[in-house]
Amino acid sequence: MAAENKRPITFRIKRSLDGKRDASTWEEFEIPWEPQMNVISALMAIQKNPTTKGGKDTVPVVWEQACLEEVCGSCTMVINGKVRQACTTLIDAISPNGEPVTIEPMTKFPLVRDLIVDRSRMFENLKRAKAWIFIDGTHALGAGPRVAPEEQEVAYSLSRCMTCGCCTEACPNVNDHSSFMGPAVISQVRLFNMHPSGHMNANERLDSMMGEGGIAECGKAQNCVQVCPKEIPLTESIAVIGRDTMKRALFGWLLK
């Protein structure tokens, strides 16, 4: 569509200056269309001109961002009801005829302000899962283990997790009544457990998935795999780790 046919786009943004969800309010902004416009460039336009559609002066909306090419995981938001990265949300795709765009913060993490939530829990989960290889040190110890190309392809697909939180947001089993860690960390356990030297600590990681908030609390809703921006086979990972933890629960004591 030619630029002259493009009308200004209305953005409805859920705001909270103090991080209290109950007190959230909606503000509307009207932003001129521009080529290659995405949700980020619209939010940037608000920074330059923080005035609502009704002409009221307001403060710029705050959000997390960094790379703007969907590789850092910062800019996760709920856009038109769907959790996704704001940078790859192109306006021409979600508002082809100038339809209004709704932007909200994620709901499964503590709200900080406006579109910013606190995802530190996800990083804490990685500590609990010991999501690393236990290397002996960074001095020269020669080449790493050989890995078949097919193995590498699986590992790479799992290793692209940006800790963006989309899977956690979409998961019905992550809620106020559960302590479920969410799908991302389970997939990381699979990643490290399949690595030739990471495998040496596989049981420690499986144990970390078996306690409270662990894999047993997955309700197999399969929402996670649908919203993952990196198309990580999360449900496959949950199946693999589910099987491995099951084996460990049944026979682990024999192998100790």
């Binding site: 940078c87 500590k127 020269a140 800790t163």
Partner: protein, 682 residues
């Protein structure tokens, strides 16, 4: 702190820490080396370190492992790096880096980086610019992300490890690494002798401003790409930490050397990189012979396409170094108006490569193209144009030579700035890439830099006579209060200038007149304009005064730093009347028939580092002093530094990639690579 006392704690039992600012590859590697040396670290980052700009590096990391039987070696890698940098890189650290590279890649492999593999299960290597060898290890086309994750994981491991006291007993509640994520570095704390004793930082959620004692501080804060408005860099890459240290007396070197990457896709918020690895895997750059050819690119027959890089550079073809490629694209689009449809775009074509292969090796970048442009690059040539990408220049840092002339690892001089106790590493330093960086050398230099900086800081830490904790608390309180006062003043600024708008104006002018082609009259205007922006900055408006997650006020602070560094860059570019690497002035190009003074590279006058020193302010406007020499201290040692470049390991040579034989071949010990026969016709 005499040697008999505990290394990690004071007499009062306080844990002595060093601070690392920046959690990208360079910062994290520095942290890991410090932890291995038993030195506790406070790690500060604007974002969770896993989201640092290193994630954007795509193509790979160089290491001359020579698994393809081509006769590659670290020596050749070193020579190509130095030549690629047009002889402005310091040669001893470059040699150290090239020699360490194979073990660095092995280390990353041991950490679990999912590098692409050969059918035998070995590491695979691809080609990159400025070389004829397969030297670049890669994990799909998101290598930086994968490397960053590996180091992030190792640092997380140290977050769960306690500090040990002198008896080797762990101190509960004192992890080896304390992370301060979403914290903005705002000031170095210097004692009366200008030695670093800590820093002041601000929590970007609660906006609390706090001082932290630190035995040494390392800035690993990346590039300043956001000075140019939109670039391939992340929005956090404002260069602010370097600007702060520069204002406190650190020397900034070679600021004018800004790399323009030939292939990026335009966007309203960002220019997104399409990695050089696209060409490394066989991608071809072309324009239609008739710029206004209406046909779809797929329907334009071979003979009606102009593969302009292959025609001019028969040996390196599409893999000439970035400065060369960017200038050619610029000449085609601006000079000849021969871009696609007369626009500033050329084709980057991968459609002749089987889709399955592309998916294995380049999916990461092709996905970016597909998501942001909405066109399938597996079957349609991509449309690209150059974009600001990397800063070769940065904080001046020292190095120590060993007997062979390589880098002496463990010396406290390595990566030390001229402020005692302040270190700098990664894109934010200046020493590895000279006037132009070769592709896939940035990931290497960040990690090698970290492997050298960690031990250097540990040596410095061990040699300290006095701990930061032995200074009166007033030193820290004073610094903290000063910054709180500045922040309050910023919050009370009630002028008319919106900082975001002012930044956009700065970006526009820097991008237009201070990048690929530089003309002295235009740069004079840029400098004048920067002065005008600095005047306007004094009339800034606090567009947000909220006490929680305020982004507008820290941004205004960053803008002040961007204006300061913009002047360093522009003034450095104005002064350097020659053509060298990424710094290109048509008026001095020996091949330009219209050149005013056709000298090309001027080794007689300009084979030297630009050294910029903060000169205070004249009213609102900042001043730069350029110096040719200075002294600095480490402990009791006084060291004299000049702007001379260390070229002790490889003699000067003309940089020419148009010939049919390898550009480095003059004195390289290894033979020609076997796989790329020079006889092949374009």
């Amino acid at each position: 702190m005499a040697g008999s006392k505990s290394k990690t704690t004071t007499d009062g039992g306080k844990v002595r820490r060093v601070a690392v600012v920046g959690g990208g590859l360079a910062g994290l590697m520095t942290v890991i080396k410090l932890c291995e040396a038993g030195v506790p670290v406070d790690l500060f980052s604007l974002v969770p370190v896993k989201r640092s700009h290193s994630v954007c590096a795509q193509g790979g990391i160089n290491a001359s492992v020579n698994t393809k039987g081509e006769g590659d070696s670290p020596r050749v890698h070193f020579e190509e790096t130095v030549l690629g940098g047009d002889f402005l890189a310091q040669q001893p650290p470059c040699l150290g880096m090239a020699e360490a590279a194979p073990n660095i890649v092995y280390l990353l492999d041991r950490m679990g980086v999912p590098f692409n593999r050969t059918p035998e299960g070995l590491l695979d290597f691809r080609r990159f610019g400025g070389t004829l060898y397969h030297r670049t290890a890669f994990a799909g086309a998101t290598t930086g992300q994968q490397l960053l994750y590996a180091l992030d994981e190792q640092v997380r491991r140290f977050e769960t490890t306690d500090v040990l006291d002198a008896q080797g007993v762990s101190i509960p509640g004192e992890p080896l690494v304390r992370k301060f994520e979403f914290w903005d570095f705002v000031q170095l704390i210097l004692d009366d002798n200008q030695v670093v004793r800590g820093l002041v930082a601000q929590d970007l959620k609660s906006m609390e401003i706090r001082s932290f004692p630190a035995e040494a501080v390392c800035l690993a804060t990346g590039g300043p790409g956001i000075i140019f408005g939109r670039s391939t860099q992340s929005t956090i890459c404002t260069g602010i930490a370097n600007a702060i240290a520069y204002k406190q007396g650190a020397i900034y070197a070679n600021g004018e050397f800004i790399q323009i990457h030939p292939t990026a896709i335009p966007g309203a918020d960002k220019l997104r990189l399409i990695s050089e690895s696209a060409r490394g895997e066989g991608g071809r750059v072309w324009v239609p012979r008739d710029a206004y050819d209406k046909r779809s690119p797929r329907d334009i027959p071979e003979k009606e396409r102009r593969y302009f890089l292959e025609e001019k550079y028969p040996l390196y073809k599409n893999l000439v170094p970035r400065d060369v490629a960017s200038r050619e694209l610029f000449a085609i689009c601006y000079g000849e108006k021969a871009g696609i449809g007369g626009r500033n775009e050329v084709y980057l074509d991968l459609t002749h490569i089987p889709e399955a292969e592309l998916r294995k090796k380049l999916a990461g970048i092709l996905e970016i193209y597909e998501k942001f442009v909405g066109v399938d690059p597996y079957h349609n040539p991509m449309k690209v144009f150059p974009a600001v990408h990397y800063s070769m220049g940065g904080m001046w840092v020292d190095f120590d030579r060993d007997a062979r002339g390589s880098l002496k690892v463990g010396s406290a001089r390595n990566h030390a700035t001229n402020i005692q106790g302040l270190y700098n590493v990664g894109e934010s330093d200046y020493q590895y890439h000279g006037a132009n960086r070769l592709g896939a050398n940035s990931l290497l230099s960040t990690i090698y830099g970290g492997m050298v900086t960690g031990p250097a800081m540990a040596t410095y830490f061990d040699g300290l006579e006095k701990s930061a904790f032995e200074f009166p608390t007033s030193l820290f309180e004073k610094a903290e209060k000063a910054e709180q006062k500045k922040y309050t003043a910023l919050a009370n600024s009630d002028g008319t200038e919106n900082p975001y708008k002012l930044h956009a104006e700065l970006g526009d002018i820097m991008l237009r007149d201070c990048t690929i082609e530089r003309h002295n009259d235009a740069i004079d205007k840029v400098i004048e304009k920067i002065g005008e922006f600095e005047e306007r900055y004094t009339k800034i408006k606090a567009v947000d005064t909220n006490a929680k997650s305020n982004q507008a006020l820290p941004f205004a602070r960053h803008l002040e730093g961007m204006l300061i560094l913009a002047r360093v860059i522009a003034q450095g570019a104005r002064n350097r009347d020659e053509c060298r690497g990424a710094h290109y002035k048509p008026d001095f190009d020996e091949k330009n028939p219209k050149a005013v003074n056709p000298i090309g590279r001027d080794d007689k006058n300009w084979l030297r580092s630009t050294l910029a020193k903060w000169g205070g302010r004249d009213g609102a406007q900042s001043k730069v002093e350029f110096v040719r020499e200075f002294d600095y201290s480490i402990g009791s040692e006084r060291i004299h530094i000049t702007d001379e470049v260390d070229i002790s390991l490889k003699a000067l040579q003309k940089r020419d990639y148009t010939k049919k034989k390898a550009a480095f071949a003059a004195d390289a010990p290894a033979g020609q690579p076997k796989t790329d026969a020079p006889a092949e016709k374009a």
